[in-house]
C-alpha cells in the first residue's frame, strides 16, 4: 500500500510534466508535421536561465533565494524559453519544412538541441545543480509513504496548464486558427491567416508551458541538462504512442511517469528491477507499443 502510494505520488508528478511536454510535441507536430528534437534542451534553457537570474551559476542551496527574486527569475526563464522555442521554429525548422526536406528539419532541430546543450554545459559545468526552492515545501507521511508536497503542486500546475491549453485551443480565435492550420496548412495560408506567426506563437506557448512545469519540478532533486533532455524524450515518447493526439498525450505522459516510478520502487517478493531500469523499461515498452501501432498503419495510396 505504502509503495503503491509512493509510486502514484512521485510517478504522477513526473508523468504530468512528461505529459505536458508531450502535449507540446503533439501541438507542434499537428501544426507543422515536424518532430521538435530540441524541445528538451529548450526546457533546460528555461530552467538554467531561471537558475542564473535567481542565484547565479555558482553553488546554491534550496533556501538561497527569496520569493520575489525567484518570481522575476521565473518570468525571465519563461520569456527566454518562449523566445528560443519560437526562434528555433523560424530559423531551424520552418525553412526545411517549407522545402519538404525531412532530412533538413531533422538535422536542424538536432543541431539546435546539441548547440543549446553545449552552451549550457559550458556555462553550468558542474555535473548537477541544486535548484532553489522558494516555496520550501515539505513532505507528508501518508500510510507509510513519504510524499513530497511539491509533487502535488507540480502535478496540479501541469494539469491546470494542460486544461488552460485545451481551453485556449477550443475557445479562442487563436486556437481555432491553429486548428485550421493543423487541418490544412496550405488552405490556411490561402484564406489569409498569418500562419508563420501563429505557428511561431504556438511553439512559444508550448515551450513556455513545458518550461514552467519543469522549473517547478526542478527543486525535487539534482538537476542537469540530461534531466531536461529526458523530459523532452519522454514527452516525445508519450506523443508518439498516441500518434500526436494532444488530448491523449497528457495521459500517456502520466502513464510513462507511473511506469518509471513503479520500475524504481515496486518489488515482488525479493525481485526488483530498481533504478537502473527506470529509464530503459518505459522507453522499451513505448517502442513496443509504437511498433504495434506501426503494423496497423494503412499503406500510403494515391
Amino acid at each position: 500500500m505504502a509503495v503503491a502510494l509512493q509510486i502514484l505520488a512521485s510517478g504522477f508528478a513526473a508523468g504530468a510534466v512528461y505529459g505536458l511536454v508531450g502535449v507540446g510535441h503533439s501541438l507542434v507536430f499537428r501544426l507543422t508535421g515536424v518532430v521538435h528534437f530540441a524541445f528538451g534542451e529548450l526546457i533546460a534553457l528555461g530552467v538554467f536561465v531561471t537558475l542564473l537570474v535567481a542565484a547565479g551559476s555558482g553553488p546554491v542551496s534550496q533556501t538561497t533565494v527569496g520569493g520575489g527574486r525567484f518570481l522575476v527569475a521565473l518570468l525571465v526563464g519563461l520569456v527566454v524559453t518562449a523566445a528560443a522555442s519560437a526562434g528555433a521554429y523560424f530559423l531551424a525548422i520552418e525553412p526545411y519544412r517549407a522545402r519538404g526536406s525531412t532530412i533538413g528539419w531533422v538535422g536542424a532541430s538536432l543541431a539546435v538541441a546539441f548547440a543549446v546543450r553545449t552552451l549550457l554545459t559550458v556555462f553550468f559545468d558542474r555535473p548537477a545543480y541544486v535548484f532553489p526552492d522558494p516555496l520550501r515545501l515539505g513532505v507528508w507521511n501518508v500510510g507509510g509513504a513519504t510524499i513530497q508536497q511539491r509533487s502535488l503542486v507540480v502535478a496540479g500546475v501541469a494539469l491546470a496548464l494542460a486544461a488552460l491549453g485545451g481551453m485556449l485551443l477550443l475557445r479562442t480565435r487563436f486556437g481555432r486558427a491553429l486548428e485550421a492550420i493543423a487541418q490544412d496548412f496550405d488552405a490556411a495560408v490561402v484564406v489569409g491567416l498569418p500562419v508563420a506567426w501563429l505557428v511561431g506563437a504556438a511553439f512559444a506557448v508550448a515551450g513556455a508551458a513545458a518550461g514552467l512545469a519543469a522549473i517547478l519540478a526542478a527543486p525535487s532533486g539534482a538537476f542537469d541538462v540530461d534531466a531536461a533532455s529526458l523530459y523532452g524524450l519522454y514527452g516525445l515518447l508519450a506523443a508518439l504512442v498516441v500518434r500526436f493526439d494532444p488530448r491523449r498525450a497528457l495521459a500517456a505522459g502520466i502513464v510513462v511517469g507511473l511506469v518509471q516510478a513503479a520500475v524504481t520502487s515496486a518489488h515482488a517478493g525479493g525481485a526488483q528491477l530498481g533504478p537502473a531500469y527506470r529509464d530503459v523499461v518505459p522507453l522499451a515498452l513505448g517502442l513496443v507499443l509504437l511498433a504495434w501501432h506501426a503494423r496497423r498503419l494503412p499503406q500510403v495510396v494515391e
Binding site: A115, R117, L236, L283
Partner: protein, 549 residues
C-alpha cells in the same frame, strides 16, 4: 575456362569504367595506407578510430542518401556491435570472429528496428530511431552487464594501432565500394524510386518496406562492425562513447560529406576531424573541454550545412550503363479476374458488386463520372486497398497514377531498370555486392532493353526524368509499368490535359503494349482516345457497372 572468361569480363568492365577520378581515389588510398609510417602510435589510433567511424557513416549514408530514411539510431547499432564484441573478446574469442559477430549483432538490431518502424511516416521513423538511440545509451550506462556501467568494460589485447589503421582503411574502402555497387543494383534503384515518390513506386509493384528494411539492416551491419573493432582499438568499452551524440555525429558527417555519394561520408569524417583539431586548439585557449567544443562544432556545422541547402562535399558521379543484347519481349498469357468486388467508406458505397475480366492483348476502358468509383476500383484491383467483399486473381498487376508520378532524380533509363528489377534472378544484395558475372550480364541486358524501349518511343534516355516534357513523362510511366513484366497494367487517365497530338502519341504506346499481349485497363475521360484504343468499354456509376460494350 568459365572463371577465366568471367575474370576477363570483369577486367574489361573495370577498364571501361576507369577514369581520372578512379586514379585519384586509388592514389589517395595508397597514400593513406602509408600514414602509420609517419605518425606516432597515439595519432595512428586516433586515425583508425576515425576510419571506423567512417565505416559506420558510409552505412548510414546508404540509408539516408539512397533510401531517404532519417535514421538516428546508427550510434546505437555501433554500441550493439561494441557490446557483443567486448563480451566475446573477454571470453577469449579472437578479433576476426568477434568483429563478424559484432557486425551481425548490429545488423540484427537494425533489422529489428527496420522491421518494427519502417511503416511509420518519416518524421515518426526519425523519432522512433532517436528513442532507440537513447534506449541503448541509457541501457549501456545503467545496466552494468552491458559495458560495466560508469567504470567501463576493459578489452585487452588485439592488433596494434597500426594494424587497426590498415584494417579500418581497407574496411572504409570496401564500405564505399559496397555502397556504390548497391546504389546501382536493384535494391538501390528501388530505394531511390521510393525516396523520390513512394506511391508511384508502390504502384509499380516495388516492395518499398522490404527494400527499406534491407537498407537499414545493411547500415546496421556496417555500424556493428565498426563498433566491434572500435571497442578493441580503444581497449575499453565506455558507455559514454555510445550516447545519442554518436548518432548525431554520424548524421552530421553524412550530411556534410554528401549522403548521395559512396565516399561522401568519409569526406565528412575527415572535415569534422580536421575542424575538431582546430576547435581543440581554440577550446584549450578558452578552457573549454574538447568534448564540448566538438559537440558545438558539429551542431554549428550541421546548421550551416542545412541552412545553405548544401548537398554535401562529394557529389555522386552520374551513373553509366553499359550496353548489351536486347531480349525479345514476351509476356506469359494471363488475365486479371475480379469477382463481386465491394467497398464502402462509412455510409458511402464506393464500389458495389463489380466483376471484371482483363484478357491478354486487349484494352478495356473504364469510364464514368467523377466519384463513380473508378479510382477505388483500381486500388482494389492492385491490392492497395482491401475489398470488403469479393476477390481479385491475377498473375501480376501494376498501375500508373493519375498524377504524373515520375522519380525526379532518376533518368528514364534508371526508371525502366528499376521497374524491371523484380524480373532479375541474379540481382540480389550479395551478388550485387560481389558484382558477379551473371549479375553484370543481367544488368547490361536490362539496360539495353530499357534503352531500346525508350528510343522506340522517342523518350530521352539519360537526363533526369524531371527535365522531360509532360507527355514524355507519361509515356515513361507506361513504359516503366510495362518493364515490370506484369501481365495486367492499370492506367489512370493517361491523356488528362494532353493536346490531340500528345494524346495520339500516348495512345500509340498503349496500342503497342496491347500488341505485346498485355491486358490493359484504362481509366479515361477522353472518348476520342477511348474509341481509338479500347476493345471493350465498361461504364461505372455510383460504384456499379451500368454498361458493358
Amino acid at each position: 575456362m568459365t572463371a577465366a572468361l568471367a575474370f576477363r569480363g570483369a577486367a574489361r568492365d573495370a577498364r571501361a569504367a576507369w577514369s581520372l577520378r578512379t586514379w585519384l581515389t586509388l592514389a589517395a588510398f595508397v597514400a593513406a595506407a602509408c600514414v602509420p609510417a609517419v605518425t606516432g602510435s597515439a595519432r595512428t589510433a586516433d586515425l583508425a578510430g576515425g576510419l571506423y567511424l567512417a565505416v559506420a557513416a558510409v552505412g548510414l549514408a546508404f540509408a539516408v542518401g539512397i533510401g531517404g530514411l532519417p535514421s538516428l539510431a546508427q550510434g546505437a547499432f555501433v554500441a550493439v556491435g561494441a557490446i557483443t564484441a567486448a563480451h566475446l573478446l573477454a571470453a577469449g574469442v579472437p578479433t576476426a570472429p568477434s568483429a563478424i559477430a559484432g557486425g551481425a549483432a548490429g545488423a540484427l538490431a537494425a533489422f529489428a528496428a527496420g522491421a518494427l518502424f519502417i511503416r511509420l511516416p518519416r518524421a515518426a521513423f526519425a523519432a522512433a530511431t532517436w528513442i532507440v538511440a537513447w534506449l541503448v545509451s541509457l541501457g549501456a550506462g545503467s545496466i552494468t552487464w552491458f559495458l560495466g556501467g560508469s567504470e567501463g568494460f576493459v578489452v585487452a589485447g588485439g592488433p596494434s594501432p597500426a594494424e587497426h589503421y590498415e584494417l579500418a582503411l581497407g574496411l572504409t574502402a570496401l564500405a564505399g565500394l559496397a555502397y556504390a555497387a548497391l546504389a546501382r543494383a536493384p535494391l538501390g534503384l528501388r530505394l531511390a524510386a521510393a525516396r523520390d515518390r513512394e506511391t508511384a513506386a508502390r504502384a509499380l509493384g516495388i516492395p518499398v518496406e522490404r527494400a527499406r528494411a534491407v537498407a537499414v539492416t545493411l547500415s546496421g551491419a556496417a555500424a556493428g562492425l565498426a563498433g566491434a573493432l572500435g571497442v578493441q582499438l580503444a581497449g575499453v568499452g565506455d558507455p559514454a562513447q555510445y550516447g545519442p551524440f554518436l548518432s548525431f555525429k554520424l548524421f552530421v558527417v553524412v550530411l556534410i560529406g554528401g549522403a548521395a555519394s559512396a565516399y561522401g561520408a568519409v569526406a565528412g569524417v575527415i572535415i569534422l576531424g580536421v575542424l575538431s583539431v582546430v576547435a581543440d586548439a581554440i577550446g584549450s585557449l578558452e578552457h573549454v573541454a574538447a568534448a564540448r567544443s566538438h559537440t558545438l562544432l558539429a551542431a554549428v556545422m550541421l546548421l550551416g550545412v542545412v541552412s545553405l541547402g548544401w548537398d554535401g562535399l562529394v557529389r555522386p558521379a552520374r551513373r553509366g550503363w553499359s550496353g548489351g543484347r536486347t531480349r525479345g519481349g514476351t509476356v506469359a498469357p494471363a488475365a486479371l479476374v475480379a469477382r463481386t468486388l465491394g467497398k464502402r467508406y462509412g455510409e458511402v458505397v464506393a464500389v458495389d458488386d463489380v466483376s471484371l475480366q482483363l484478357d491478354p492483348g486487349t484494352v478495356t476502358a473504364l469510364v464514368g463520372p467523377n466519384g463513380s468509383g473508378k479510382t477505388t476500383l483500381l486500388r482494389l484491383l492492385t491490392g492497395a486497398v482491401e475489398p470488403d467483399r469479393g476477390t481479385v486473381e491475377h498473375g501480376g498487376v501494376v498501375r500508373t497514377l493519375q498524377a504524373t508520378s515520375i522519380f525526379p532524380s532518376l533518368s528514364p533509363l534508371e526508371h525502366l531498370v528499376t521497374a524491371s528489377a523484380g524480373l532479375r534472378r541474379h540481382g540480389g544484395v550479395l551478388r550485387s555486392l560481389l558484382s558477379t558475372p551473371k549479375a553484370r550480364a543481367e544488368e547490361a541486358r536490362a539496360a539495353a532493353e530499357a534503352r531500346s524501349a525508350l528510343t522506340r518511343f522517342g523518350v530521352p534516355v539519360d537526363p533526369p526524368a524531371s527535365e522531360l516534357t509532360v507527355t514524355d513523362q507519361r509515356i515513361l510511366m507506361l513504359l516503366a509499368a510495362a518493364a515490370t513484366g506484369a501481365p495486367a497494367i492499370l492506367v489512370d487517365e493517361p491523356t488528362a490535359g494532353a493536346s490531340f497530338a500528345e494524346a495520339q502519341r500516348i495512345a500509340g504506346v498503349v496500342d503497342v503494349l496491347r500488341a505485346e499481349g498485355r491486358a490493359i485497363l484504362v481509366v479515361e475521360h477522353n472518348l476520342a482516345v477511348v474509341r481509338k484504343i479500347a476493345d471493350r468499354v465498361v461504364a461505372l456509376d455510383a460504384g456499379r457497372v451500368v454498361e458493358t460494350a
